[in-house]
C-alpha cells in the first residue's frame, strides 16, 4: 500500500436529525500531496474530517488511512493521523514543552525518542525559546503554531488540519502556511480544510469544493478554473468615445464580450494579460483615454461561484 493513497475515503454520509451534513463525500490523498477541502462555513468540512479521524460515527461510507481500515483497525488509523483541530486544543496551564510531552506520550512516544521529537518540533514551529512558558501566556499565533506542533510530533502519515488559520494575525498565518508547505516536501499527506480561497490556491495540490455536504468539484486549480472557461474580466475606466472603444475592442482577437458601462468599458476575454497592450492601442485609435485598468483572472472563488451560485463567504 506504500504506493497507494495515504487517505482513501468513499461515500461518507452523516445526518444530524433532519439535516444531511455530509452526503456521499469521497476523495483520496497521495503521499506528499496537500489536498484542500474548500467550502463556506457549515458546508460539511469539519464533519467530514471528524469521520475520517474516527471522532464521529459515520452513517455510511468507508475510510482507509495508510492501508488500514477505520472499521477494522481504528487504532492503526488514528496512530497514522495527526489531527489539528480548528480551535486551539491545548492545556493553557501547562507549558508548551509539557503539552508536547503529554501529546507525544499519548501517541506512544517515550524516552529519548520523545525528547528528540519534541525538540525538533518546537524548532520547526519556532517556539524553542518559549517552550517553558505557560501556553496561556502565548500569543494567539504562537498557540496556533503549538497546536499544529502537537499534531506533528509522532510524524503522522496523514496530517489533518481543520481551518488552522482561523482568527490568526497575518504574520502567524504566513508562518503556519509556511510550515504546511514544508510538510508536503517531507512526504506527509496533508488534508487541509479552509474557507479561504487564497490558502487553498497557495497550499493545495488538489482541491475538493464542498457545499451543503456534497463534493461538487475536485481537481487541481487549473482543472477547476477550466470548468468556468478560463476567461478573464477586464474593466477599463475611460473617457471619450466609449462606444467606439467598445466596438474596436470587440473586434480584437480573444475578446468574447465588450460593452459600455458607467465610466468605462467591460470586457470578457481569454488571456487578458497578453491582450492588454493591444487593447490600450485600440483605445487610442478610438479616441478614448484609459485612466485605469483592472484585470480579474478566474480563481477558485469564481469556480465556487460558478458551481454553487454563491460566494465562499456567504
Amino acid at each position: 500500500m506504500d504506493d497507494g493513497p495515504v487517505l482513501w475515503c468513499k461515500d461518507l454520509r452523516k445526518r444530524f436529525k433532519e439535516r444531511l451534513a455530509v452526503d456521499g463525500v469521497g476523495f483520496e490523498v497521495a503521499p506528499g500531496e496537500t489536498y484542500g477541502l474548500l467550502g463556506p462555513n457549515g458546508a460539511g468540512k469539519t464533519t467530514t474530517i471528524s469521520m475520517i479521524c474516527g471522532l464521529l460515527r459515520r452513517d455510511g461510507g468507508e475510510v482507509t488511512v495508510a492501508g488500514a481500515s477505520l472499521d477494522r483497525d481504528p487504532g492503526l488509523v488514528k496512530a497514522a493521523i495527526g489531527y489539528v483541530p480548528q480551535d486551539v486544543a491545548l492545556y493553557p496551564d501547562l507549558s508548551g514543552l509539557e503539552n508536547l510531552r503529554f501529546w507525544g506520550r499519548m501517541y506512544g512516544l517515550t524516552g529519548r525518542e520523545l525528547n528528540e521529537r519534541v525538540d525538533a518540533t518546537l524548532e520547526v514551529v519556532g517556539l524553542t525559546e518559549r517552550s517553558g512558558d505557560k501556553v496561556s501566556d502565548y500569543s494567539g499565533g504562537m498557540q496556533r503554531r503549538l497546536n499544529i506542533a502537537a499534531g506533528l510530533l509522532h510524524r503522522p502519515r496523514l496530517l489533518v488540519l481543520d481551518e488552522p488559520t482561523a482568527g490568526v494575525d497575518p504574520q502567524s498565518r504566513n508562518a503556519i502556511l509556511g510550515n504546511v508547505e514544508a510538510l508536503g516536501g517531507e512526504g506527509v499527506a496533508v488534508l487541509y480544510t479552509t474557507h479561504y480561497m487564497e490558502e487553498a490556491e497557495r497550499l493545495c495540490d488538489r482541491v475538493g469544493i464542498i457545499d451543503q455536504g456534497r463534493l461538487v468539484a475536485e481537481g487541481t486549480r487549473r482543472e477547476l478554473v477550466a470548468t468556468v472557461g478560463e476567461r478573464d474580466r477586464i474593466e477599463l475606466a475611460a473617457t471619450g468615445d466609449l462606444a467606439a472603444l467598445a466596438g474596436v475592442a470587440a473586434r480584437l482577437e480573444g475578446v468574447d464580450e465588450a460593452g459600455v458601462v458607467a465610466g468605462g468599458v467591460h470586457l470578457v476575454a481569454r488571456d487578458g494579460r497578453r491582450l492588454l497592450p493591444r487593447l490600450l492601442e485600440a483605445a487610442e485609435h478610438a479616441g478614448a483615454e484609459v485612466t485605469s485598468v483592472e484585470l480579474v483572472e478566474p480563481d477558485l472563488e469564481a469556480v465556487f461561484l460558478h458551481l454553487t451560485g454563491k460566494a465562499l463567504r456567504d
Binding site: 471522532l55 481504528p74 489531527y83 492545556y91 493553557p92 496551564d93 509539557e98 501517541y107
Partner: protein, 393 residues
C-alpha cells in the same frame, strides 16, 4: 487502557497541583476550618452541664434524686450541682449561670410516701438545649420510677395496714434512683462518649472538603470538552474508558492525599487520635470513592462547567448539612440524627466517631465502610454510564 489512564491521571494531577485554589481546598481549608469550628465548640464534646438544685424537701425521695441520680457514677463527672434555694435557682437559670434547675418542694417525700400527687419541677435556661433536655429526661425517669415504686408503697401500706417507715421509704427512693438512667441518655451519642474536637471536626471537615477536592475529576471532562482537548485525546488511539479511568484515578489520588494530610495534621498539631489506622484507611478509601461517585454523577447531569459547579455545590452543602459536617450530630434532634444516615458523609462520620469513641478496628467501621463503598460504586457506575455521551461522539 492502563497507559492512557496513567498518562491522563499524571497530567490532571500536574494541573491540579499548579492550581493554588485546588491546593487550598484539598489541604489547607479543611485544617483551618476544623481548627476554627473546633475552637468554637470548645475543647471536647463530652457532655457537661451545671444544674441548680433547690431541695426544700430534705427527705429521702429528694435525697434519692440528688445523691442517687445527679451524683451517680454515670453523671458525677459530667454534672456540676449547685445547691441553692428555689428563688436563687430560678435566678441562676434566668441569668444563664446554670443550664437547668430542679425544684424539689417541701413535702415531696411525704407526698410520695402517702401516695399523693407530687411535683418535681425542672426549669430550663434554653441556652444549652441538650443540657435542658437531659435535665428533663432525668426528672421524668426518676418520677416514672417513683410512680412504679409507689405501687410497692401502696402494697406495703395495704399489707401492713400502716404507712411505711421512713427507712422503708428511703429504700424505695434508693431503688428509684438506682434504676437505669434514661435510655435516651445512656444510649445516645452524648452520654459517656467523649469526642475531642479535633477527632470530630478533623474527619468532618476533611470529608466536607473531600467532595470539592474530588469534583474536579468529573468537571475536567466538561472542561476538556469545552477547550477541545477531549476531541484531541480521542483522536489519538486512547480508549475513552482509559481517559475516564485516568480522571477518576487523579481524583482518587488527590482526595486520599487530602484526607491523609488532614489525619496527619490534626494528629501532629492537635494531638488528635482518629483511631485504628487500618480502619481509618478503610474509611478514607471508601469515603473518597463515594465522594467521587456522587460528584461525578451530579456533574454528568450538567451541560456546562458553570452548571456543574452549581449542581455539585448544592449537593455537597446539602449532604454536609444533613450529614453533620458542620455541627456535632449528637446535638441535633433525633430526626436529624437519623437523616444523617441517609448521606454517605453521615455514614463516614459515624464511622470515624465510632472509631474514636468505641475503639476497635475494621469491625467497628464495617457498616460505614460497606455503605459508603456501595454508594460510591453505584453512583460511580451510573456516572460512568452517563459520561459515555461526553467522551464518545
Amino acid at each position: 487502557m492502563l497507559r492512557t489512564a496513567l498518562l491522563v491521571a499524571g497530567k490532571d494531577l500536574r494541573q491540579r497541583l499548579r492550581d493554588r485554589s485546588a491546593l487550598v481546598i484539598a489541604f489547607i481549608a479543611p485544617f483551618v476550618l476544623a481548627s476554627i469550628v473546633g475552637l468554637a465548640f470548645g475543647g471536647d464534646f463530652a457532655f457537661r452541664a451545671t444544674y441548680a438544685v433547690a431541695d426544700a424537701d430534705r427527705g429521702p425521695v429528694a435525697t434519692g434524686f440528688t445523691d442517687g441520680v445527679l451524683a451517680s457514677e454515670g453523671l458525677r463527672d459530667l454534672v456540676t450541682v449547685r445547691r441553692v434555694d428555689a428563688g436563687e435557682a430560678r435566678a441562676l437559670v434566668d441569668r444563664g449561670e446554670v443550664d437547668a434547675a430542679f425544684l424539689l418542694p417541701a413535702g415531696l417525700s411525704a407526698a410520695v410516701q402517702a401516695g399523693r400527687p407530687a411535683t418535681l419541677t425542672v426549669v430550663e435556661s434554653g441556652e444549652n438545649p441538650i443540657a435542658g433536655q437531659v435535665a428533663r429526661s432525668l426528672a421524668e425517669a426518676y418520677t416514672a420510677e417513683l410512680a412504679a415504686t409507689g405501687l410497692a408503697v401502696a402494697t406495703a401500706l395495704d399489707a401492713a395496714g400502716r404507712p411505711p417507715t421512713e427507712a422503708a421509704a428511703q429504700r424505695l427512693g434508693e431503688r428509684a434512683a438506682a434504676t437505669r438512667l434514661p435510655a435516651q441518655l445512656v444510649e445516645g451519642q452524648v452520654g459517656g462518649r467523649t469526642i475531642e474536637a479535633a477527632n470530630y471536626f478533623g474527619p468532618s471537615m476533611a470529608i466536607f472538603f473531600l467532595f470539592f477536592t474530588v469534583s474536579f475529576g468529573a468537571r475536567s471532562v466538561l472542561t476538556e470538552r469545552r477547550q477541545g482537548t477531549m476531541r484531541r485525546l480521542l483522536a489519538t488511539a486512547a480508549p475513552p474508558g482509559g481517559v475516564l479511568a485516568g480522571k477518576a484515578l487523579a481524583a482518587f489520588t488527590l482526595g486520599t492525599a487530602s484526607m491523609l494530610v488532614m489525619w496527619l495534621a490534626t494528629t501532629v498539631v492537635f494531638g488528635a487520635d482518629w483511631g485504628d489506622p487500618v480502619a481509618v484507611v478503610a474509611l478514607i478509601v471508601s469515603s473518597v470513592l463515594s465522594a467521587i461517585g456522587i460528584t461525578a454523577l451530579v456533574i454528568t447531569l450538567a451541560k456546562t462547567d458553570e452548571q456543574a459547579e452549581g449542581y455539585s455545590s448544592l449537593v455537597v452543602f446539602t449532604l454536609a448539612l444533613l450529614g453533620g459536617n458542620f455541627i456535632y450530630l449528637a446535638q441535633l434532634p433525633e430526626l436529624l440524627q437519623r437523616a444523617a444516615l441517609l448521606t454517605p458523609n453521615g455514614w463516614a462520620l459515624r464511622g470515624f466517631v465510632d472509631l474514636v469513641a468505641d475503639g476497635g478496628g475494621l469491625a467497628t467501621v464495617a457498616l460505614p465502610v460497606a455503605v459508603t463503598l456501595s454508594v460510591g460504586l453505584v453512583t460511580g457506575a451510573l456516572a460512568l454510564y452517563r459520561a459515555r455521551r461526553l467522551v464518545v461522539a
